[in-house]
């Protein structure tokens, strides 16, 4: 310690005492300190950061950090970058930044010639962490808002008390309110580990305002090590406050994942609502039609990658109609070849379509292989929007939510407003009468089934953006989607919507409570019980057409 010859008078023999005194001064005289002329990096400081044992070098770094004014002086930043890049050598009481042939003096930045016998500066991990923290702290003064924001995030991991002077300066200099608040929180999270109980107490109180999920972990950790009762109480109070704030994010998060699952179920079940609800066909191959939609998306993606790499981000838009058409085509083929012979015999359609599903699955396995294939999100569907600190809504999930709503509206309009919809309803209600007034019922059946299949294809396209695409894709959804249709009631779009959303949210709520598998089991048992009460679903058809 005797080697410590600072520019400031030393308060004690120990580093910590010294540090404390500096920090106290910084805190007490925050603005005063800002007003004092900042010192540029001196050659002597640069040398001490580069040479000596780790403790001494850390102390020198802290001293330089405390003394510098990053807004006007960049030398320290450059020096630390060089240290991190292992580009510093020292000899004869001076430190040099050596980048290839170019050699500069560490303190002044002037080009110089490298003297004979220069030694490499070696940094251990502890020093590296300190340098990284210092670098982040210096970046707090960057002109670029993004960079400052990144620096704050970086410091949350690594900051210690040595960086406090810089954090304080940054706090005073920051003009962006959001960032200012974040720096405030950063400061508190540094101070809560301070050696001074009073400061810990202040920081503990300040942290109650924190919106960050990481604060909870920090508070819990500090609560474990804190020994002062008063601080402990403050920590506990802050923890409670933070947790109650985070709880909202978590609740909304559960709600969102529930609605997101509901929207997927809705997409899957909408097609079924047409084939089963309107036409009375138990289409066990529905899941496989989704799989075909997903594989169509995969093929479109590959075509874009090969032939239109510049427009790759737009492949999803092209994949939507393609997956619809491909699945609808397969559906029309199914209807023409097999299902049309089985109308009015739902159990037979169940077995025959199961057979079709096996064939489709094996076909895809033969063509594309049994392994999952990779479908990439376009860049505009990656990432998400951060609503609360602990609640990020991924763009792909939001996209599916919107997509499901659009498909729902489309189907509802198609059924209620178009000629085809009129025919479909007519044939559903009274096939012979419809036929008598000139409706080509066979063709209407084909169109309606193709429509249901096409919607399954759309669901597959959407699923390819959030999950794995493989030959077994459809199998996982078939039980769930039938549950939605059964729960919602046959022949009811509104029932399907309520059932899908309800199942999605209830499933996710239970998942948080009992785990994924038990949630699924409980939901299935609840459905079985519910069917006891209302065998025809939430919205039962009334009157003669009910049976």
């Amino acid at each position: 310690m005797t080697g410590l010859r600072g520019a400031r008078p030393l308060a004690g023999g120990r580093i910590q005492g010294w540090l404390l005194s500096v920090l106290l001064a910084v805190l007490a005289l925050g603005l005063v300190l800002l007003a004092t002329p900042a010192q540029a990096l001196t050659p002597e400081q640069a040398l001490r950061i580069a040479e000596g044992d780790s403790e001494e070098r850390l102390a020198a770094l802290a001293e330089a950090v405390a003394a510098t004014d990053p807004a006007t002086d960049k030398t320290l930043g450059v020096y630390i970058e060089a240290l991190l890049a292992d580009e510093v050598k020292h000899v004869g009481g001076r430190a040099f930044i050596v980048q290839g042939e170019a050699v500069r003096d560490a303190a002044t930045g002037q080009p110089v010639a490298l003297p004979e016998g220069a030694e490499d500066v070696v940094n251990n991990n502890r020093l590296r962490r300190a340098f990284e923290a210092a670098r982040s702290a210096l970046q707090l003064f960057s002109a670029d808002t993004e960079e400052r924001s990144r620096a704050i995030t970086g410091l949350k991991e690594s900051a210690d008390e040595a960086m406090l002077p810089l954090i304080d300066k940054a706090l005073a200099a920051e003009r962006e309110p959001a960032l200012k608040e974040q720096i405030q929180q950063l400061r508190a999270s540094v101070l809560v580990s301070s050696n001074d109980p009073a400061r810990r107490l202040d920081a503990a109180r300040l942290l109650a305002e924190s919106p960050q999920p990481a604060t909870r972990a920090l508070l819990i950790e500090r609560l474990g090590t804190e020994d002062k009762a008063e601080v402990k109480a403050a920590l506990a109070a802050s923890l409670a406050a933070v947790e109650s704030r985070l709880a909202w994010g978590e609740r909304l998060g559960v709600l969102f994942t529930g609605i997101s699952l509901g929207s997927i179920l809705l997409l899957v079940a909408l097609g079924l609502a047409i084939t089963y609800g309107l036409m009375g066909v138990i289409n066990m191959a529905h899941g496989e039609l989704m799989m075909i939609g997903a594989y169509a998306t995969f093929v479109v993606q590959n075509l874009f990658r090969t032939y239109l790499p510049g427009l790759f981000d737009l492949y999803v838009l092209a994949a939507i109609p393609v997956s619809f058409l491909v699945a609808a085509l397969v559906g029309a083929l199914m209807e023409k070849s097999v299902i049309r012979w089985l109308y009015g015999r739902p159990l037979e359609t169940l077995l025959a379509t199961w057979g079709i599903s096996l064939i489709l699955m094996q076909t895809v396995r033969t063509v594309f292989g049994a392994q999952n294939v990779a479908v990439e999100n376009p860049s505009w569907l990656s990432g998400g929007v951060q609503v609360l600190p602990n609640l990020t809504l991924p763009y792909n999930r939001l996209f599916i939510l919107l997509f499901a709503a659009l498909v729902l509206v489309g189907v509802a309009l198609l059924i209620s407003r178009t000629r085809l919809g009129l025919f479909v309803r007519g044939v559903t209600q009274n096939r012979r009468m419809a036929s008598c007034v000139g409706v080509n019922t066979a063709r209407v059946d084909t169109y309606a089934f193709a429509l249901g299949a096409g919607i399954a294809g759309l669901a597959g396209c959407a699923l390819s953006q959030v999950g794995n695409v493989g030959p077994d894709l459809g199998q996982g959804y078939i039980v769930d989607s039938f549950m939605v249709v059964v729960l919602g009631g046959v022949g009811q779009l509104a029932g399907t919507v309520y059932a899908a959303m309800g199942l999605g949210v209830v499933n996710k709520l239970l998942e948080g409570w009992q785990g994924a598998v038990m949630a699924k089991i409980i939901v299935l048992v609840l459905i079985v019980l519910f069917i006891q009460k209302r065998p025809q679903g939430i919205f039962a058809l009334k009157g003669r057409s009910a049976d």
Binding site: W341, L350, L351, I356, L358, I359, V479, V528, P535
Partner: protein
């Protein structure tokens, strides 16, 4: 009411018993392996396995073919019977497991110190065998009671049974459920302290065969009894049966529970022969396959489902060895072909006036005519 089997019927039954109980064991155990007549161990096990499937198909036929209720959850009852047997077999391993513990290996692996409550009677052969029929029976009874009472029928019932077996599969996949999770039970060593060797396997084969014949006779008695007539009437016009003063719920519940118990027995016979039971048996696909055996053979006939089980599973083991990638194509095409063209299954094909049986008879008559 009951129609007697008649001379030919009893001859057929006795021949079946003779083949199962004498011919097969003799060909496998007594004939030396190098002889042409020797029956390989593999085929004994395969046939034993298919016989268990045939029991399931028969049970499915009672509920579907004769009562008109398609269950897509029969695999669950089969698996429950299998698990009940498997628990006993696991306990019979004793301390010969990997960890030399008195507890089954998977419990040691989970760091459990004692048997969970549902393993309480697993050391007793008699009680555990009772569970083989009681657990599927009770589950079917409770489920059926609620389902039939609220008049859930047709496709609704099928879909809910499928959900039931799906939920059970998820439950059994969990390690905490206490049935070995993913891996289920395997590595069995002995039954009633007798090692499971080839002789034991032949014994199990004979037992399965005799059970099948017994169940066949029982089913025949049932469907030809007055109650059986009511069942078929329920299948054809449930509302009319109700208006005639019968309570369909009782009949349906009885046959449904019996059918589940039969599947439980089949599962219990299946597990020691095949040597493994895992939750895969509860997958919806496995249950649908049971339905297809009955459909292929011919619903509403008792011999049909047995033929169907042998035909489909025979084809399966041939395909999976010869053309593994074509098996699903074949099975899928079979599903479609049977529903489209063979509503009465293979039996319908045989019995149709223009069918094979009719063709054969016509040929015989032609031959006789030619003689005279």
């Amino acid at each position: 009411m009951s129609t007697p089997l008649g001379m030919r019927g009893w001859t057929a039954v006795l021949t079946a018993v003779l083949v199962i109980a004498v011919v097969v064991p003799a060909l496998n155990l007594l004939v030396p392996p190098e002889s042409v007549l020797h029956l390989d161990d593999f085929y004994v096990t395969l046939t034993g396995k298919i016989i268990c499937y045939a029991i399931c198909a028969l049970a499915m036929d009672l509920i579907w073919g004769y009562t008109g209720i398609l269950s897509l959850g029969h695999g669950l009852f089969f698996a429950l019977g299998g698990y009940a047997m498997g628990m006993y077999l696991m306990r019979q391993i004793g301390t010969d497991g990997q960890y030399r513990s008195t507890l089954p290996d998977f419990m040691v692996f989970l760091d459990w110190k004692e048997l969970p409550w549902h393993w309480a009677v697993s050391d007793s052969f008699v009680l555990q065998m009772l569970l083989v029929v009681l657990v599927p029976g009770l589950l079917a009874f409770v489920f059926g009671f609620f389902a039939f009472r609220s008049r859930i029928k047709g496709v609704y019932f099928s879909i809910i049974t499928q959900a039931l077996t799906f939920a059970a599969m998820l439950l059994f996949f969990r390690n905490e459920t206490g049935f070995g999770g993913n891996n289920g039970f395997t590595d069995f060593k002995r039954i009633l302290d007798v090692p499971i060797d080839q002789k034991m396997k032949v014994l199990l084969f004979v037992l399965s065969g005799l059970v099948l014949v017994g169940f066949f006779l029982m089913s025949r008695y049932i469907v030809h009894s007055k109650a059986g007539r009511v069942l078929q009437a329920i299948r054809d016009a449930e509302t009319r049966v109700m208006f005639s003063g019968y309570d369909p719920v009782k009949y349906k519940l009885a046959i449904w529970t019996l059918s589940a118990m039969m599947c439980g027995v089949a599962g219990a016979l299946y597990v020691p022969q095949v040597g493994i039971i895992n939750p895969g048996e509860m997958s919806p696909a496995a249950s649908i396959e049971i339905a297809i055996w009955a459909a292929v053979g011919g619903r509403g006939t008792l011999i049909g489902p047995i033929i169907g089980a042998f035909f489909v599973n025979g084809a399966k083991s041939w395909f999976t060895v010869t053309f593994p990638e074509f098996w699903l194509f074949f099975l899928g095409a079979l599903f479609i072909a049977v529903t489209l063209f063979l509503p009465n299954g293979l039996m319908g094909l045989l019995r149709r006036p223009g069918g094979l049986l009719g063709l054969w008879r016509k040929l015989m008559r032609l031959g006789k005519d030619a003689e005279t």
